[in-house]
Amino acid sequence: MDESMLNILLVEDNEDHAELIMRSLEEQQIKSHVFHVTDGEKALDYLFHRGEYSQEEKYPRPNLILLDLRLPKVDGLGVLKEIKQAEELRIIPTVVLTSSESENDIYRAYNYYANSFLVKPMDFQQFNELMLKLGRYWLKCNANPVR
């Protein structure tokens, strides 16, 4: 795995938002590879190498998880809880990226050991900036435990 690159698991049910995030990262020239799943169940399958994602080689562990909260089947908090309870997964930085500004959600996310909580900005420019900062921070600033 290329360590100078962000391997992102993007858990986002909204195709449009996923497209926005990926284009933004691309635009800001963040060296990243994004794997996109559309619901919580798939995310967990991916991370635990289950079902269609059982081939570890093909679906490697990410070094950053971008997690929406409002997801079909298993919602974001459910996913987060599972990740942070699993010994092999809990070290992966998991950033909640959602359109919710609910204090309740923020509290609960941190209560399940989220590493960061980001609200999707409505403004396009701010959205881009956030993605740039996010990419730089996790790629450049942050010392990554996942080797």
Binding site: D16, K73, S99, N104, D105
Partner: protein
Amino acid sequence: MIENNLLPLMIELNENTDIMIAVIRGSKFAYINPTLQKNLGYSLEELYSMDFWDIAHPDYSDLLRQRGWARQRGEEVQDSYELRLLGKQGNSFWAHIKAKNTSIEGEPAVIVSAFDINERKAMEVDLLRQKESLQFMLENNPVATALVNPEGKTLYVNPRFIKYTGYSREEVSSSLVWEEKVLADMPKRREIMKAWNRNLKETGYSKGKIVLRRRDGERRFFNIHSVALPDGHILLAAWDISEQVEARKILQESEARFKALSEASFEGIIISENGICIEANQAAVELFGYSREELIGLDVMSFTAPEAREIVKSQMMSGSKDSYEAVALRQDGSRVPVEIQGRSFIYQDREVRAAAIRDLSERRRAEEEIYRQSTNLQALFYNTLDAVVLCDPVHRILDINPRFFELFDYTIEECRGSILEEVLVPEELKEESAFMSSMVSSGQANSRESVRKKKNGELLPVLVTMIPIANSGYYVLYTNISERKEAEATIQQQIKELEAKNAEMERFTYTVSHDLRSPLITIKGFSGLLLQDLEKGKTARLQKDIQRIINASGKMEELLEDLLELSRIGRILNPYSNFPMNRLCHEVVELLSGPVSQKKAEVVIAPYMPWVHGDRRRIAEVVQNLLENAIKFMGDNERPRIEIGYFPGEGECVFFIKDNGIGIEAKYREKVFGLFDKLDQSTEGTGIGLALVKRIIELHQGRIWVESAGAGQGSTFYFTLPDVPDSKKGEE
């Protein structure tokens, strides 16, 4: 010799003087003057015939005869002497005689003059007699007496003095002896003696009390008086008052004791004499509201209430010792019920009556309070809304109140004497009941919500309260709490519903904010990207991005419409009516005949379905939604089949729509009813459908849930509506 011319004058004098004069010659009188003749009472003839010694008292006639003859014989004889004369009438009197020799015609004669000293003599005798009786008096005086001369020397003490003091006159001769011995026990005796003497000198009189030490050493108390006599002598009189002093001391002590005792008494004590208060203690002062000074001298009747005067009077008159009740009249006019116990006795030599008076107002109040409480208790017992049973210490029923009968159906005749537990307590609660009974038996009141059995075996939720009665059993109160229990259950239900509503509201606002933001982010995001691409002249993605924007706008419109619809359900209600479900289902299936036939689905409607009561349009929406869902999630089943059915529930009608489509995993069975929740993002619609259905059913007091054996196993959606009473049916 006397001049001859003076002779008649001399004779005149002899004849008229008070002095008795006689001249004796031989044995006869030669001359007797009138004074002598008058004093003797003899005639002159008688006198001249008598011998001169015949006029003397027989005691003295010899003396007179001898001296008369001797003088005439010329012998030396006493000239002057006293003797007693005796008159004719037997009267004798003293006379002082002076005799002188003379001669008549040459013959010796005696001239005698005499004067009457009878009065003087009588005085002398008197004086002697007085002196003797004074002596007698002193000797026999019960008062110790002493005579002291001006120099302080004791001249005389009487026998009583010696008896009292033990000292003889010689032993108390000087004032020094007095000071050293007799008054040795007197404190400050020197000063007192000085003052004594000074007072004596100034006023001639002194008196006081002294402590005297007897010769044998015993101390005695004396009252002593002294008088200065005209010649400077001092007469002391003293009498022993030791016994009086002792008696007074004892009396004072006993008085003090009585006083202390009576002051210490909580009872008022009044001592009266002839109906007048002569002594009162502090308690009496407080009881009657008079000061002690006011009480003393007051008629007992003036602090006795008029209505009690008769009994008080008769008790005092009879000297009764029995206690009786009366009413005291206080100074302020208020009345105090009292108990009096009197006793007549002799106090300081007076016949008096002592009465102990006890304030009964406290006791009366207590009695009244007890009566009032017992009356209140009775009232409470018979009128309380609680069933009350009175038990003895061994749990036997003694009494029940009317409410007990109403609540448990037992009459007092049926349960008196029975063991309470056996009558009321259900088998499974015996242990709890025994515990409560043991607590009340140990004097602890206790209370607990429990269940008790009526006579017909029906169970009744009650609050059981056990109240011990000191050492004599206990009360048990049963409060019927069945209504409260129901109310509590209702409240609990309402709380649950409210909490659910609240949670739903929270979810709703969350959902709205989240779900409405989502398309906005898309719109703004892709608009931005569009601009960028346009600036750079990139056109490859333009059409696709614009389509995204259009889709997001459409989605938003949909969301808004759904939200409006949802809020309308809560707010706008069509009037409820009774209608048969069967017909409604047929109408809905007819409405969806297009999609049904498109999927080649078979729809079966149960032949019998009951009438229901509700908003017909909304219920139709529910059926339509569920049917649409069934069609939508039919999956790849080659023989889609949808069954609309019914079965009766408990007080409700249960309807179901069963399909053989894709099914729902157990963990998603709640989530499907969430607002804008979709299990599959690829499906059409906002995800509001089931949320809407749920809301409608809840508004009709029904429930909705889904059952499914799992993915691919088909699903059955159930909803309930309340039963409609038969009478309401057919009123569509």
